[in-house]
Structure formats: C-alpha cells, structure tokens
C-alpha cells in the first residue's frame, strides 16, 4: 500500500479511528479514576459519538479504502449517521437510569462505543471479511451488555441465550461466506458481482448466499430467525433493549441491503424469493404474535419483528425506490422505537421499581398527560396512520413493491398492518379510556427530551420529511 493510498484510507475511515482510539482512552480513564467514574465516562462517550457523527456528516470524500475492504458512499454516510444518533440517544437514555439498574460501571459506555464501532465497520463493509468482523465486533459487545446486570437472573439468561444463538448464526454465516468465496474465488463485493455477472451461478453459490442472508436476517430478527428477540428484549435491562432496537438493526439492515444490491446484484431473482418469504413471514408473525403479549418489552420485540418485515418489502423490490424506502423506513423506525423506549423507561414507580406490563399504562392520560399524548402519537405512527411518520415509511416501501409488480407481497403487507394496528390501538385505549392504577415517579429530563423530540419528529414529519426523503434517495443512488 503506497503512502497516498494509506492517507486516503485513513481519511475515509477517520470516524472509525476516532471511535476506536476514543474507546481505548475512555477505558484508561475509567480504570484509573476508579468505580465512581461511570457518569463522567458516559458523558465522554456521548461526546465521542457526537464528534464521530459530525465528522461523518460534514467531512467530504467518498470511495474505497484499505484495499477495497472499506467503502464510504452516500448510503454508508446516511446509515452511519442514523446508527450513531441511535447509539447516542440510547446511551443518553441509560444516563439517568444506570444507578437503578446496576448499569453504573464505566465499562458499560465503553462497550457500547465499541459496539457502535462495529456498526460503522459493518455499514462500510465492502468485503466478506470486514462484513464478518464488523458483525462480530457489534454482536460480541451486545452479548456483554445484555448480561450486564449479572445479579439478575433474567439479564444473565438473556445474555447467554443471545450469545449461544448469535454464535450459531455467526457460524452459519461463516460457512456461507466460505462457500461464496469458494465458488467465486473472491471475498470483495465488487469482485463477487463481477464473477457472478460473467459466469453462470452454481448451486453451491446459492447455498452460500442463503447462509449469508440467514446470518444477516438473524441480526435484524426477521422470521424465521427471530426466536431470540422476545426473550432478549424482555430480559435485558431496558436501556440496553433500547440500544438493541436502534443502531444494530440499522447497521444489520444496511449490510443486508449492500450485500444483495452489490455482491449479489447479478442474481436478483435468486435472492428476491428469499427476501419476499422472510418479509411475509416477519410481517405476519409480528402482527399476530404481539396480540397476546402482556409485557410491553415483549410487545416491542414482536413489533420490531413486524417492522423489519415491512422494511424488507422495500428491499424485495430490488429497485432504487425500494432501497430508498428501506433507508427511510429504518430511520423512522429507529426514531419511533427510541421514543417508545423512553416512555417505557419512564414507567418507574416512586420506589424505583420499573413496571413493564401493558396494563400499567392504564389511565396514563390523567396521571401524565404529556407522555400519554406522545405515546399515542408514536403508537398511531407505528400502526401507519396518516399523516404521521410511520405512514410515509410504509407508503414508500409498498409503492416500491407495487412498482416491482410484487402484488401478493404488498397485499399481505397491508393486511397484516391492519392486524398490527389492533395492539397499538389497544395501548391507546388503555391510556385514554381506562381508570388509572397508580402513579409513576417524576420523569427525568433526558427521558422527557427524548420522547418529546421523537413525538415531534413523528407529528412534524409531513413538514420536515422532504430533506430526509431526498437524503434517502441520494443514499439509494449509491447502488444503481
């Protein structure tokens, strides 16, 4: 590698370098200032992520670095900003709650920063090896934070379950990658696409592709690889669950989009049927399985499975509008999810116990009117009711699917979103029409800020959506 190429590579991956070096520095600060340093390290971690996000958003330059292993294009830039915002907000959510949940150790923000580094590597991966390494860096940190409250049986169980299933899915994905490498002779996405466009694809390559897609679908918790989601969401401490639902989903969806629309772009017909099946199964399971849930974190888990199904509808189209729909869907999904988790974290009794049952929200409109209004807006948005943000998210993916003549997929999707509306509206009914069961403790300022901003985004999307939609279109142009 010449000095010129090296400096270009360093320049392109500067946000990653900032996060990596910053995480090491935070670790040192934490170790040398002792156990009381958790709040300070958390604040520094947020500052570090903000610096990286600003760098990604502002600094010009694009192209491939590190010998083709790393790519920075408008798509990567957009998804990185979204993932970083997700991580910043999720760490912020943990800030006031850490001492109640025994998360107040300085390692917690450090591991989250390292996980975010994994997401950035994953989003920028242009090679099967960096794809795997990014995924593993992200997931390994997530296993640790899921089990972070080690005195809680549920948290430990969640961490262990996630670890065992995640290791299995990584193994399957590596097997698939080795098959893809064996049948194309390359690990780079560009080279794989070149080989596939000139040669007839073999059966072994299809096997490899299926395994790679299965690994990515595990991370976004799409059916039939969703089994871990409800248990892990329920067992992990709530700020950790919020973190799970934000950045990692965005990053895993980004690599799924990149791998099918770049490496496997010459064999659209082969991967489309897989994505269509996964999308239909996720939408149906997400809507029907959530109906009976009593725990609101489990409910959110099934809701996120359903949302991943809708996002994949756009990917199944395999067109520029489809990918742009996916990008937009993930952005809106992340904002809605973070707002909802801020509300869930606000469900704390005066004695410090966190309530997690759906029933506990009864009569929220009379005890906490502001939170009730925001949560209602978020639920309507998740159900896809116009003119809220969630409606536009669904609209763009379904338009893309209809343009690609995937009529059956679109019809099933719209019908399952009707089923899904039931449980979102049930929450609204509980909040507004049932008698209150008890008071919640005073809500912290950060939580109010997060769900306030999220509610504002959802309501005002009609007005502010234009620039976001244009940025998503520009991001999707990277592939076509």
């Amino acid at each position: 590698m010449t000095a010129e190429l090296l400096s270009l590579s360093l320049q392109l991956s500067m946000p990653e370098i900032i996060l990596a070096v910053g995480a090491l520095a935070l670790l040192m600060i934490g170790v040398f200032t002792g156990e009381k340093s958790a709040p300070m390290v958390t604040m520094l971690a947020v500052a570090l992520l903000v610096v990286a996000a600003v760098w990604v958003a502002v600094m010009p330059g694009s192209g491939e670095g590190w010998g083709g292993a790393f790519i920075l294009d408008p798509f990567a830039r957009f998804m990185k900003v979204v993932a970083l915002i997700g991580s910043i907000v999720a760490i912020g959510l943990s800030f006031g709650q850490a001492r109640y949940l025994e998360l107040d150790k300085f390692e917690f923000p450090v591991v989250l920063v390292l996980s975010t580094l994994g997401m950035m590597v994953l989003i920028s991966a242009n090679d099967l090896i960096s794809f795997y390494l990014g995924l593993e860096l992200m997931s390994l940190s997530l296993y640790v934070v899921a089990a972070f409250n080690r005195d809680s049986l549920r948290s430990t169980e969640a961490g262990l379950k996630y670890f065992v299933l995640g290791a299995l899915s990584s193994g399957m994905m590596l097997y698939g990658m080795s098959l893809v490498y064996g049948f194309t002779g390359n690990t780079g996405f560009d080279e794989i696409a070149r080989v596939l466009s000139t040669e007839t694809r073999g059966l072994g390559l299809i096997f490899g592709m299926v395994f790679v897609l299965a690994g990515a679908c595990f991370k976004i918790s799409a059916v039939p690889f969703h089994m871990w989601t409800p248990d892990v969401y329920e067992g992990a401490p709530t700020p950790v669950t919020a973190f799970f639902a934000a950045g990692p989903k965005v990053a895993a969806m980004a690599i799924l989009v990149r791998v099918v629309s770049e490496a496997f772009s010459p064999i659209v017909a082969d991967w489309r049927q897989i994505i269509v099946f996964v999308a239909i199964a996720s939408m149906l399971l997400g809507s029907f399985a959530a109906i009976g849930q009593k725990n609101i974190k489990r409910l959110m888990a099934y809701s996120s499975i359903g949302h991943m199904g809708y996002a994949l509808v756009g990917l199944a189209a395999g067109t520029e509008t489809g990918v742009s729909g996916v990008v937009l869907y993930m952005t809106i999904y992340m904002v809605m999810t973070l707002g909802t988790f801020a509300c869930i974290l606000a469900m704390r009794r005066e004695d410090g116990v966190y309530l997690e049952n759906v029933e506990d929200l009864a009569g929220l409109s009379s005890t906490k009117p502001f939170m009730a209004v925001v949560l209602t807006a978020l639920m309507f948005s998740m159900a896809g009711i116009p003119p809220l943000a969630g409606f536009f998210a669904k609209y763009f993916v379904f338009v893309a699917a209809i343009e690609a003549k995937l009529y059956a997929l679109s019809v099933i999707g719209v019908l399952s979103s009707v089923v899904g509306a039931y449980y979102y509206l049930r929450l609204v009914k509980l909040m507004w029409f049932d008698a209150p069961k008890g008071e919640f403790a005073r809500t912290g300022g950060i939580l109010r800020l997060v769900f306030g901003l999220s509610g504002l985004f959802v309501v005002a999307y009609v007005v502010i959506g234009g620039p976001i939609g244009m940025a998503a279109n520009a991001a999707a142009k990277s592939f076509f």
């Binding site: 590698m1 990596a20 670095g65 590190w66 390692e107 450090v110 591991v111 960096s130 390994l140 089990a147």
Partner: protein, 204 residues
C-alpha cells in the same frame, strides 16, 4: 526413501499412537500429556510440508496456552472421569458412523482433485514457492499491509472479549487479605516487632 519420508513416517506414527492414547489413557493428566505429544508431531508434519509458520503457531498457541489450560482444568476441577467413560461402548456405533462419514468425505475430496486437476486452477492467490519466499515472510507481507484493517478490527474484537470477561465475572470482595507492597516495604523493626516482658509463672 529419503530422509523426509523417514521423518514423515515417524511423526505420523507417533501422532496416531499418541492420539489413541489420549482417548484410552486411564489418568486424565496422562491424556493431556499425550495430547501435547500429538500437537508436537502435528507441528513436525507441518514443518515437513514447508508450513513453518503454522508449525510454530501450533507450538506456541496449542501447547503453550491451550494444553496448559487443559492441564489446569483437569487438575483443578473435580471431574469423575471413570463415570464419563462408562458409556463408551454405548456410544461406539455413533462414533463409528461419524468416522465412516469423515472417511467418505476424505475419499470424495481427494478423489475430486485427482479426477479434475483443473479445479486447482480456480485458486486466485496461489501459494508462493517456499524456496523463494518463506510463508512467514509471505504472511507478514500482507498481514500488516493489505489486511491491516482486518487485523486491527480483530484486535478490537479481542479487546471486547477481554472487557466482557472481566466485567461479567470480576467481583471486588471486601473481606479479603491482599498484598500491599508499599505497606510491606514501609515496615520497620519498630512497627513489626513488639517486645513483651513476660512475668515468670504467668505466661502470655
């Protein structure tokens, strides 16, 4: 038969014999020691094929770290090996089946490369001739240049594993006597020794 062939047969024979002893030795410590012998002979076989880097890694990682860890585990955990071994005959059919499958796969792989020699041409990065370039140097050439990005991320992954292991298992216990070197060094005869006058007939 050249010198190389003689060494190959020595290494191969000892490796297989030691591997057999690993599963048949009565004492688990002997099993681990035989496992180390297997690793040594495998390293010798790697050396014969010109893969000296793999051979040295095998010595350092498998014998230096993994086998020693095995020894610790075997010696420190109270495992009833006699009971573990009691069902050997019961599992023998499954073991034989697995062995047959592996043997069949070996035949398929080797047969495939004999029948279609052109399959080897699909390798895009051929191994350099060991006479011109040792494979340690060849690995070093790419590991810190073309693959430096992967190398660094792998390092971060290991760091996460380390932090995770510590944060999930380390407990700061309150009532443990720890060595405090500065206190030990600062001791003087005045603080360390106490002279007591014992009155006769009373004792302490």
């Amino acid at each position: 038969m050249g010198l190389q062939a003689i060494f190959f047969y020595i290494f191969a024979f000892v490796a297989i014999a030691a591997a057999f002893m690993v599963i048949s030795a009565k004492n688990p410590v002997h099993s681990v020691l035989f496992l180390i012998l297997v690793f040594f002979n495998a390293a010798g076989l790697f050396l014969l094929t010109g893969a000296e880097f793999l051979a040295m890694i095998l010595l350092v990682v498998y014998i230096g770290a993994v086998a020693v860890l095995f020894l610790f585990v075997v010696m420190m955990l109270d495992i009833d090996f006699a009971e573990l071994r009691s069902g050997v005959l019961q599992y023998a059919p499954v073991g034989i089946l697995v062995g047959l499958i592996v043997a069949a796969e070996l035949v398929v792989v080797i047969g495939g490369s004999v029948l279609t020699p052109e399959a080897a041409k699909s390798i895009t990065m051929p191994i350099p001739n060991p006479a011109e370039r040792t494979n340690t140097a060849a690995l070093g050439d790419v590991l810190y240049t073309n693959y430096v990005y992967f190398f660094q991320i792998a390092g971060m992954i290991l760091l996460v594993a380390m932090i995770g292991a510590i944060v999930l298992t380390l407990r700061h216990r309150q009532h443990i006597k720890r060595q405090d070197i500065s206190r030990q060094v600062a001791r003087t005869p005045a603080t360390a020794v106490e002279v007591i006058k014992v009155k006769s007939g009373q004792g302490l």
